[in-house]
């Protein structure tokens, strides 16, 4: 399996927080989701990968370790951030002009096509609103338009779904799938998200981060075999609670996630087993590793 981005011994220390990722692999040709609580280190990691943050320890390699030239790496990666990185007083037209100065492959016509398609502006080549006057959702769409108008080989999207309405989230999934299809194994996407359910059908690989460490990762289909969703009767709840990763019980029964390898330990209980969703797996893994006690 080739890596679009590979990292070794990535470390970053803040007061009371340390990001420590001995090995990072973002598989080439797939969509990878970065999942984790607020403050887990998702944005710190993304900022390291995109070169926004340079004050860290460790090594990063891009595009099968083939691309060494930093400028070329930046040209080949498209990034959208949380909030917005355009100056607040620019209007849409100015965003177009500046993007086309900054990036060689920026295609003005494509930019306007996407702006109109996503509803950032009603027409092509108009001044449009000032960035500051756009809604949070439209700010994300504007960044997406500027990024998708370029020829890139990797998209890194920090929380793209959060400010978007359900229709646009669906559209975002479509955009990611189209990007992967167009690349036919050569293009990759990395995005961080709290909206796991909305993004599940476009997630190939998942990396779950908790207080600065990768606590679980893998191809989603493999994770769905590694973990199982268990449902059982109230009488077995006490015994099951010790074995399950995440557990919720009431007077009628219980349910929770456990490792498929641990199913033996539940032998003799009257249980039913289902394939969990990525959301259920993520919540279970996060709960097991969280310092918050939300049970």
């Amino acid at each position: 399996m080739k890596d679009v981005i590979k990292g070794n011994n990535l470390k970053k220390k803040y007061k009371g927080f340390q990001l420590d990722v001995p090995e990072l692999h973002i598989p080439k040709g797939f969509a990878t989701a970065l999942i984790g609580e607020n403050g887990a280190g998702k944005t710190t990691l993304i900022n390291m990968l995109t070169g926004i943050r340079m004050d860290y320890k460790g090594e990063l390699f891009y595009f099968d370790e083939q691309e060494q030239d930093v400028d070329k790496v930046k040209e080949r990666i498209g990034y959208t951030g949380p909030g917005n990185y355009f100056l607040p007083h620019w209007n849409v037209k100015q965003v177009e002009e500046i993007s086309s100065l900054l990036f060689e492959t920026f295609d003005e016509e494509k930019f306007w096509d996407i702006c109109v398609e996503l509803g950032v502006t009603t027409e092509r080549h108009v001044n449009g609103k000032k960035v500051n006057d756009l809604s949070d959702g439209n700010k994300v769409k504007l960044m997406l338009a500027a990024v998708l108008a370029r020829k890139t080989d990797c998209l890194i999207l920090d929380e793209p779904a959060s400010p978007l309405d359900p229709l646009m989230r669906d559209k975002l999934c479509e955009i990611i799938r189209e990007y992967l299809t167009e690349g036919n194994g050569e293009k990759s996407v990395l995005f961080s998200t709290h909206n796991i359910s909305d993004m599940e059908n476009v997630t190939d690989y998942a990396i779950i981060v908790e207080h600065g460490n990768v606590v679980e990762e893998g191809f989603v289909e493999d994770l769905k075999e590694k973990y199982v969703l268990v449902k059982g009767e109230a009488k077995d709840a006490k015994a099951a609670e010790k074995i399950l990763y995440s557990f919720s019980g009431n007077a009628y029964g219980f349910e929770g996630i456990c490792l498929a390898a641990d199913l033996d330990k539940l032998a003799g209980m009257d249980i039913q087993v289902e394939v969990p969703t990525l959301f259920q797996i993520s919540v279970a893994v996060m709960k097991a590793n969280s310092t918050l006690k939300l049970h």
Binding site: F30, R177, N184, N201, E221, V275
Partner: protein
């Protein structure tokens, strides 16, 4: 192709089953290529890895072969195996019917008569 999100059957299995049916029924012919993994994922609005797993399962069952860089093509289907596959399907459907008949309290004779009637009806149609 129809994909059910909440049927309890994993999505990759649903895809594999439906493609398998097309292969065994001869709709997808020997040597024909399956749709590209990413193209099918896009059309079905599912993730790439799910489609990939479906194709890998078909390859494991010997129905298709992966060609480096070109995708998956349909293998020549052994007619004996094909017959066997269909036979197994008939058996499991009949077993289901027998179980249902038991619950309904149907006698053996009644069940056989029903089957005969149904055969006659489908022949007429």
């Amino acid at each position: 192709m129809k994909i059910l999100q909440n049927s309890g059957v994993p999505i990759y299995q649903q895809i594999a089953e439906q493609l398998k049916e097309e292969i065994l029924s001869g709709k997808l012919k020997q040597g024909e290529y399956l749709p590209s993994i990413r193209g099918l994922a896009k059309d079905l609005k599912i993730s790439v890895i799910t489609t990939m797993k479906a194709y890998e399962q078909l390859a494991e069952e010997g129905l298709v072969t992966a060609a480096q860089g070109k995708g998956f093509y349909v293998n020549a289907q052994d007619s004996e195996m094909l017959k066997e596959q269909h036979l197994r399907k008939v058996e499991s459907a009949l077993l289901e019917a027998i179980a249902a008949a038991k619950i309904a309290g149907m006698q053996e004779q009644e069940l056989v008569e029903t089957l005969k009637t149904l055969i006659a009806m489908s022949e007429d149609a």
